[in-house]
């Protein structure tokens, strides 16, 4: 990567840096909407990804900065489509949240589950980190489902059927079954109404023409 008269080597970031980059990226999206601090956030992204000072690049030509941002953003994109990354749940910010917390949450989970130290976790490959995080969360969810099944709350009484029925614990969106189109079934001819039957599709096309 050539920025100004200096050449930099772009490398895919490790987990800790990547988490920082993701945080800056969401700040960039916000900055685009608010029209505030966009340039400084893009410069911050590049300096974090390359491990250099912002002052080293902030006065260079804008198109070199943008080029570098595009290259680094592509380089640091996740190469596997993890179900967890499709999560649509919106979490409210907790009272005990702070700016750098994401890294500590990840570190806490990995240290707790695998007894790894912070240096080892920080240097994980991005995809390894996400895949393991997903496994930890799946384990936790299945454990919670098992515990839920042992409580009375999981079997509410149904007044209509006069029976207690099992009510499974809600799963996060990325663990739920994907919606699939219902299978097309041929209707036996004797069940089709008599006369000129116009399907909904035919009706729509004739209406539009």
């Amino acid at each position: 990567l050539l920025i100004g008269d200096k050449e930099y080597t772009a490398q895919k970031s490790k987990l800790r840096t990547w988490l920082k980059l993701e945080q800056i990226k969401s700040a960039i999206y916000k900055a685009v909407e608010n029209k505030e601090h966009l340039a400084s956030k893009i410069i911050s992204y590049i300096s974090t990804a390359l491990g250099i000072l912002e002052q080293d690049i902030e006065n260079e030509a804008w198109y070199e900065i943008v080029d570098a941002y595009v290259v680094l953003n592509n380089l640091n994109s996740v190469s596997i489509r993890f179900p967890i990354s499709t999560s649509v749940e919106k979490y409210e910010k907790a009272e005990w949240d702070y700016e750098e917390r994401t890294w500590y949450v990840w570190l806490h989970l990995f240290a707790k589950n695998y007894s790894w130290n912070s240096e080892y976790v920080a240097n994980l490959e991005i995809e390894d980190g996400i895949a393991l995080l997903q496994e930890i969360l799946v384990d936790n969810q299945l454990q919670r489902e098992w515990e839920w099944g042992l409580t009375e709350m999981a079997y509410p009484y149904n007044q209509m059927t006069k029976k207690s029925e099992f009510k499974p614990l809600n799963r996060p969106s990325w663990m739920q079954k994907k919606y699939t189109e219902p299978k097309k079934v041929k209707i036996p001819i004797h069940l089709i109404p008599m006369g000129n039957v116009i399907t909904h599709k035919q009706y729509e096309t004739t209406k539009s023409s």
Partner: protein
């Protein structure tokens, strides 16, 4: 003249975006003409000076003393050196609206 850094390039875009022609495949002369026509029709002559001031280190007073020929040349150079079409493309792609 040096190309602008990113913060100033975005400031430039904020000023000039409203005058940039939709059709970017026109020739250079028409391109500049349409921008200047836009500035004149909106009677925002200050924007013309601001664009030059942002891109150069020339003061307002010095700009006002330049001949029309020099002003036009300077204006065209500002757009060219700052790759204004590329700037527009980048801003559109990321959804940044001036």
């Amino acid at each position: 003249m040096k190309p602008l850094n990113l913060p100033n390039a975005l400031k430039l875009y904020d000023v000039i975006a409203q005058y940039l022609p939709e059709d970017v495949n026109i020739d250079g002369i028409d391109f500049i003409k349409q921008i200047i026509d836009g500035i004149i029709s909106k009677e925002k002559h200050k924007d013309f000076i601001d664009i030059i001031m942002l891109s150069t280190e020339i003061s307002r007073e010095d700009i006002l003393e330049l001949s029309s020929q020099e002003l036009l040349e300077l204006f065209a150079e500002c757009l060219s050196i700052n790759k204004i079409l590329l700037l527009k493309d980048f801003c559109m792609r990321i959804g940044y609206h001036a």
